[in-house]
């Protein structure tokens, strides 16, 4: 054990991939089965010892219990284990990292491997161990690198610190992504800046995978060694297309994103976990408003339905047109900004819900649904604009803001995102309204409500006619997702990952295989996004890092289980000594939450600190008030400051956009 010198930020002590099929006879050497061992400088006899013993024990136990081993604990370490068709994956961490986190770490690693290399057995047939060792090492270092212990506990995505960034930039990023999707071969994308997510349309598990390649290209070496890498000589060398492998369920979610048609059903409680996957992450993540959304009477937005997704098949309708972007939508938007007409009248000029939704979708060549969705909501925004004046405000802002036509698009689009974002977009709109509008001539709430209901009725009828039973579909996909995860290696589908780098900024798109061979698609996407990317990069670069979060006499962490993101004011790579108690308590509470479904909130205290944790189906929040005196003695005492934590947390965290009400 001498060589297990633990480095501060390494959460992995050992990791190995062992192929049992190569060690079956008496005489077979254990080393023959070792596909990869981390740290690579571990002496061979030690490697053999660990692989041999753990493989033997795991096999023995799994035979006794007729199920694979999941976790193997030793006194000082613990191993997350994954056994599938003769391969044994094992990853060890120090004992005080929660079990759930260790297992999540290993799963991520395996997913990454399969994402870039396809099925394990096949990839070891196609590539040499050395090649794949390089990959595994990279994935490992990517997964452990550069994030805080809190990130490790939650295994969450690293996002840019949205508190210091103009939210409009985030919207801009979301818009770029949506613009790219106008090419029907583009499934979904994300934008990363210096290893952090700016905006993503993919489910968190996919975003994580895409990010690895970004770090890889960032270092710019040995990328060509990988399979399927066709370094884009055209259009410029800053784009790369890589072969990647998606599970059927992932692909299904990308191709047929579940649409939230809640409003067409009977009302559901708002707390119900809605896990529609195709999210533009930035939109809801950027919580800038420090006002209670309930102050504003725009709740009608929240029930605005998204249109049912276009049921037209992508492939059949895709006709390679000279310019993929010469669609009605684009022209209309362009014309709006070019003509620079008073936007209000422009909005009104849009037929009030009569613009044929289906027609637009069709003319777009059945482009992936968000565009169609946006289209519809664009109309809705227009329709409502006459009442709430928001659209006019947006248009006005549009006019003022350097003629940046995208702003407007952004704002109208913000109405169109699935309802997870509705609250945010609502708030954003409100904020914009506040900024720009002095006289709020919004119509009465009743009036609006009426219209919305009318719309809902129409919408639901439509949905029923289409016979789209998306909810059940969505559910089944999710359960499928769980069950498929184990067999993911068997039926992976080959896709491509297109990446376009502009200095620290990367646009990553998951594209259909034909994207690569299509004569114009790549160029179209490249040229259409280039300018915006440059602009975005420049803005992000000039954004000062700023003070790390709003510091207060408290520490908090807010974990969004659905988007897999973390908001916290614990800064720095390794939490300082003052944050240790908080991190420790958070780890304990998180693992408690993870195995007790009914647990809603908890307060734990020792002599020096008290930590409050609360969770809903969608989020977990942890809060510690600093500098509380320890004068009470541990006896039950209502005066104990620990018990005022829930109200303090509710109060304090509002300004971080965390609403615990």
């Amino acid at each position: 054990m001498a060589e297990t010198v633990q480095q501060e930020n390494k959460r992995c002590i050992y990791f190995f991939l062992y192929d049992r099929s190569k060690v079956q006879e008496e005489g077979d050497l254990t080393r023959a089965g070792i596909c990869y061992f981390y740290p690579e400088d571990t002496p061979m006899d030690q490697q053999e010892l660990l692989c041999g013993q753990l493989a033997g024990v795991s096999r023995c136990v799994s035979e006794l219990s007729s199920a694979p081993v999941r976790l193997l604990r030793l006194r000082k370490t613990k191993y997350a284990v994954h056994m599938r068709d003769n391969f044994l994956w094992a990853l060890s961490c120090v004992a005080d990292i929660p079990d759930v986190s260790v297992c999540a770490f290993l799963d991520q690693l395996i997913d990454l491997f399969c994402f870039y290399n396809g099925p394990v057995r096949q990839s070891y047939q196609l590539h040499s161990q050395e090649e794949l060792a390089v990959c595994l090492a990279r994935y490992l270092s990517h997964l452990q690198g550069g994030s805080t212990e809190l990130h490790h506990i939650f295994s969450c995505l690293r996002t840019i610190d949205s508190t210091n960034i103009d939210p409009l930039l985030l919207l801009k990023a979301a818009l770029i992504l949506q613009a790219c999707q106008r090419c029907p071969l583009v499934l979904a994308g994300c934008i990363l800046y210096r290893g952090r997510v700016v905006s993503t349309q993919m489910p968190p598990e996919l975003t994580v995978k895409v990010m690895v390649h970004e770090t890889e290209t960032f270092s710019q070496d040995n990328r060509l060694r990988m399979n399927g890498v066709t370094s884009g000589a055209s259009p410029t060398s800053s784009t790369v297309t890589t072969n990647v492998f998606l599970t059927p369920s992932e692909l299904h979610l990308l191709r047929y994103p579940p649409v939230d048609n809640r409003s067409s059903d009977t009302p559901q409680p708002l707390t119900r976990p809605r896990k529609s996957r195709l999210l533009s992450r930035t939109l809801s993540d950027t919580l800038i408003s420090d006002q209670d959304p309930s102050e504003f009477p725009h709740l009608s937005y929240q029930t605005l339905p998204s249109s049912p997704r276009s049921s037209l098949s992508d492939e059949s309708c895709f006709s390679p047109s000279p310019s993929l972007f010469s669609t009605p939508l684009r022209t209309s938007l362009k014309s709006q900004s070019e003509k620079d007409t008073p936007p209000e009248s422009q909005e009104h000029s849009l037929p009030n819900g009569t613009l044929p939704n289906r027609g637009t979708g069709g003319s777009l060549g059945g482009s992936s649904s968000p565009v169609a969705k946006n289209e519809v909501n664009y109309q809705e925004g227009g329709r409502l604009g006459s009442e709430s004046n928001i659209s006019s405000v947006l248009a006005e802002k549009d006019k003022n803001a350097d003629g940046n036509s995208e702003n407007r698009q952004v704002n109208s689009l913000s109405n169109g995102v699935p309802s997870e974002q509705d609250e945010f977009s609502l708030r954003l709109n409100d904020r914009l309204a506040k900024l720009e509008l002095t006289d709020d001539s919004a119509g009465s709430g009743d009036d609006r409500q009426e219209r919305v209901e009318e719309h809902l009725a129409k919408e639901s009828k439509e949905a029923r006619r289409e016979g789209v039973t998306e909810r059940s579909e969505c559910m089944s996909v999710r359960s499928e997702c769980v069950s498929v995860r184990s067999e993911c290696e068997t039926s992976l589908e080959s896709m491509f990952l297109y990446q376009h780098r502009v200095r620290g900024l990367v646009l990553a798109l998951l594209v259909e295989p034909s994207f690569n061979t299509h004569p114009t698609a790549k160029d179209e996407v490249y040229h259409s996004s280039l300018a915006s990317l440059n602009g975005l990069e420049a803005h992000l670069r000039t954004t000062s890092p700023g003070a790390p979060g709003a510091q207060g006499p408290y520490t908090f962490a807010h974990y969004d289980c659905i988007q897999n993101t973390l908001t916290t004011n614990v800064c720095g790579r390794s939490a300082g000594p003052q944050d240790r108690p908080f991190v420790k308590a958070t780890a304990l509470l998180h693992s408690h939450f993870s195995y007790t479904d009914t647990l809603q909130e908890a307060i734990i205290r020792n002599a020096s600190c008290a930590v409050y944790g609360t969770r809903t189906a969608a989020q977990e929040t942890y809060f510690l008030q600093q500098g509380t005196s320890s004068r009470n003695s541990g006896i039950p005492n209502g005066q104990d400051s620990a018990f005022s934590l829930p109200s303090k947390a509710r109060h304090r965290l509002l300004k971080h956009g965390v609403n615990l009400l």
Binding site: L50, A95, T598, S630, I635, P636
Partner: protein, 672 residues
């Protein structure tokens, strides 16, 4: 699907226990592979084969990595927990989701505690322990295994059903007057009479107590006795429950009876008091003994159907208990335990000091010295340095010589010890020998083994012979004295033990309170409203599912609080479903003044489970806390409450503090 296995490092099975489901599972796996050969292999062999790779890998890892397995979890949530005690590896398995890792670890530690209590310091020598746990003689082995299996089942049942075994503290019957009367009776009449009798065969009653089910009615310790620590008392209650399974079963429905899977009840619970008055105890209720041809049994080497005849209740059990006397400390002092059934579920227990028990104290002192010497020598310290900070080696020499002389006067066989000792002396003290160096380590080991052998010879139950006991007539007299005393109370006590305190009496004062458990960790006692979940005795929680639900919640909350306590958190509140749970641990001085809270240690996961039965965490905690409170007696309390979630938190906290104040009083009833 449950299993518990004790094995040596070389994968020899020293003991196993399985439930029928596990056995079935194993036989299925083996039945398939060995069908051609006809007869399936003996169950013990299958177990051995199945676990051998795990056991061997475990010792390989320990040897080569200095780290060993503690648990495995599979994807279908089977849990395996492993723990090494000296050279014995304990493995506990659960595959039905009823026990988690922590429960299994606790089970292993309890098993170890029960083995310690039964075999004493013999457990310190692995070769001797192997002989004790796995005697060559099959019949004898069956007897030992059966006994341990039953103890384990009894423990599991109590942990499932009894709150006092949930929190691992003794529950007392709350009836101060009767309690006081009984203590006085035990002291003035019973113990005095026995200890002054000539029929006591050199034994002396040190402790006497009366149990109603698992609850303590009265406890008396004689003046020169060491305190009986809570851990030992709890283990003794398990043993008593094992002798006389409490008539829980009488109240359970037939289905429940079936599910308890205890076919080996040796006594029918219904003793008739009149029979007991009239004659010998052993004859009044013949054991349920199915005679089967022993040869057939041996051939199958199966324990499952072999019934062992019940021991005569007049024959004491040998138990090894911790003692702190003015002569010294001994963690495993031999005692005889007499369990005299007063009526079904009401038992008088006498713990006596046996003749020559001072030998145990000497053995322990010498063992301790040799262990320390060996440790120092293997660290490379030599000569005088090896005994630095310890009594000089010369002193050890004198002590051993004196000890051998003492044994000789007591007519014990000492030739082995003497030969090993003279070998040791030759090596250590003569010019020709290597002196006090590392070369002496093997001699230290054999001295330790010899000391354990002497201890075994003096105290192990078999070696003592069956004639060493309080005379049966004396026992009978004691029994009838207590029966007479409690005759009028008998029925009351049986009811009281089921309704010790009830939630009803707290509801008015604490609306919304569903349940609580208050524990005095210094005394190792707890108070809690009774939680009866059997169908026939409806509690105020109602019947059936709701009562079960609440019971399960309480059980899991106790597990939760332990996890947080292990990590240093002394206050935990949870909102879980429709309920609000609170847990507090605090310290007081003797007058009830609340002492300030300090940070308590954050323990690693691989330590013993938190509790009092197998490993007394709270004793360690008190010792830790007392370091800063040298001048006062520190007491430690725990309160656990369950409220309806709709009650505002401020009221819940107010309740908790009122409850703590209110309960402080009853816990003051003196134990002595």
């Amino acid at each position: 699907m449950k299993c518990l296995l004790v094995a040596t490092e070389s994968a020899e099975v020293l003991f196993y226990w399985t439930d029928p489901e596990f056995e079935h599972n194993v036989q299925e796996q083996y039945g398939a592979s060995q069908e051609e050969e006809g007869r399936p292999p003996a169950f013990e062999d299958s177990i051995n084969t199945l676990f051998a790779p795990i056991i061997i890998s475990c010792s390989t890892m320990a040897d080569r990595l200095g780290d060993s397995y503690t648990s495995f979890t599979t994807e279908n949530n089977h849990v395996y927990v492993l723990n090494q005690f000296d050279e014995c590896l304990y493995i506990a398995v659960n595959g039905d989701g009823e026990e988690n890792e922590e429960d299994l670890k606790r089970k292993i530690y309890v098993m170890k505690k029960l083995i310690d209590i039964m075999f004493g310091m013999v457990t310190l020598s692995s070769s001797l322990l192997r002989k004790e746990l796995r005697p060559q003689d099959t019949e004898q082995r069956n007897r030992v295994w059966k006994k341990l299996q039953r103890l384990l089942e009894t423990y599991s049942r109590l942990r499932e059903q009894d709150q006092s075994f949930l929190v691992e503290a003794v529950e007392r019957l709350i009836h101060p007057t009767l309690c006081e009367q009984c203590i006085e009776f035990l002291e003035r009449r019973l113990v005095q009479q026995i200890n002054s009798s000539v029929e006591r065969a050199g034994e002396e009653v040190l402790h006497a107590f009366i149990l109603v089910h698992t609850k303590l009615l009265a406890f008396y310790s004689s003046r020169n006795a060491s305190t009986l620590i809570p851990s030992d008392l709890l283990a003794l209650i398990i043993m008593v429950q094992d002798h006389y399974p409490s008539s829980f079963d009488l109240e359970t429905t037939p289905e429940e009876l079936e599910s308890t899977s205890a076919p080996d009840i040796f006594f029918t619970p219904e003793h008739s008091p009149s029979d007991q008055d009239s004659g010998r105890l052993s004859s009044d209720s013949p054991p349920v003994f199915q005679f089967v041809d022993p040869d057939v049994q041996m051939a199958e080497d199966s324990l499952q159907t072999l019934e062992v005849p019940a021991p005569d209740p007049m024959t004491p059990s040998r138990v090894f208990l911790e003692s702190t006397l003015k002569e010294g400390f001994c963690p495993m002092m031999p005692h005889s335990m007499y369990c005299l059934p007063l009526w079904p579920s009401i038992t008088l227990v006498l713990l006596t000091k046996i003749p020559n028990s001072q030998v145990a104290m000497h053995v322990y002192g010498l063992l301790d010295a040799f262990v320390k010497l060996e440790k120092r020598l293997s660290e490379g310290l030599e000569g005088a340095a090896a005994s630095r900070g310890q009594p000089p080696i010369q002193e050890l020499r004198n002590k051993v010589d004196k000890f051998i002389r003492l044994l000789a006067t007591l007519d014990f066989q000492t030739s082995h010890l003497q030969s090993v000792w003279s070998e040791f002396k030759n090596k250590a003290f003569t010019r020709s020998g290597p002196g006090i160096t590392r070369a002496l380590v093997p001699s230290c080991r054999s001295m330790k083994a010899q000391l354990c052998a002497v201890y075994r010879q003096c105290f192990s139950a078999e070696c003592m012979g069956s004639h060493q006991r309080l005379a049966p007539t004396l026992q009978e007299r004691a029994l009838s004295m207590v029966q007479e005393k409690l005759m009028d109370w008998k029925d009351f006590l049986l009811v009281k033990s089921k309704r010790n305190i009830t939630m009803v009496s707290y509801l008015e004062e604490f609306p919304g309170l569903v349940h609580f458990i208050y524990t005095d960790r210094t005394a190792g006692q707890m108070i809690a409203p009774s939680l009866n979940v059997t169908d026939r005795s409806a509690s105020e929680l109602g019947k059936g599912p709701l009562a079960h639900f609440i019971k399960n919640k309480v059980w899991s909350f106790v597990a939760t609080t332990r996890r947080y306590l292990q990590k240093g958190y002394t206050t935990v509140t949870l909102r879980d479903g429709d309920y609000y749970f609170c847990y507090f641990l605090w310290f007081e001085n003797e007058t009830g003044y609340k002492l300030e809270v300090t940070d308590i240690p954050n323990l690693p996961d691989d330590l013993a489970p938190i509790g009092m039965l197998a490993w007394d965490y709270y004793r360690k905690l008190l010792r830790f806390y007392s370091k800063n409170h040298q001048n006062e007696v520190v007491k430690c309390y725990e309160l656990l409450t369950m409220h309806l979630g709709v009650i505002p938190t401020e009221y819940i906290l107010q309740h908790c503090s009122q409850l703590a104040r209110k309960l402080w009083e009853p816990s003051r009833i003196p134990l002595l």
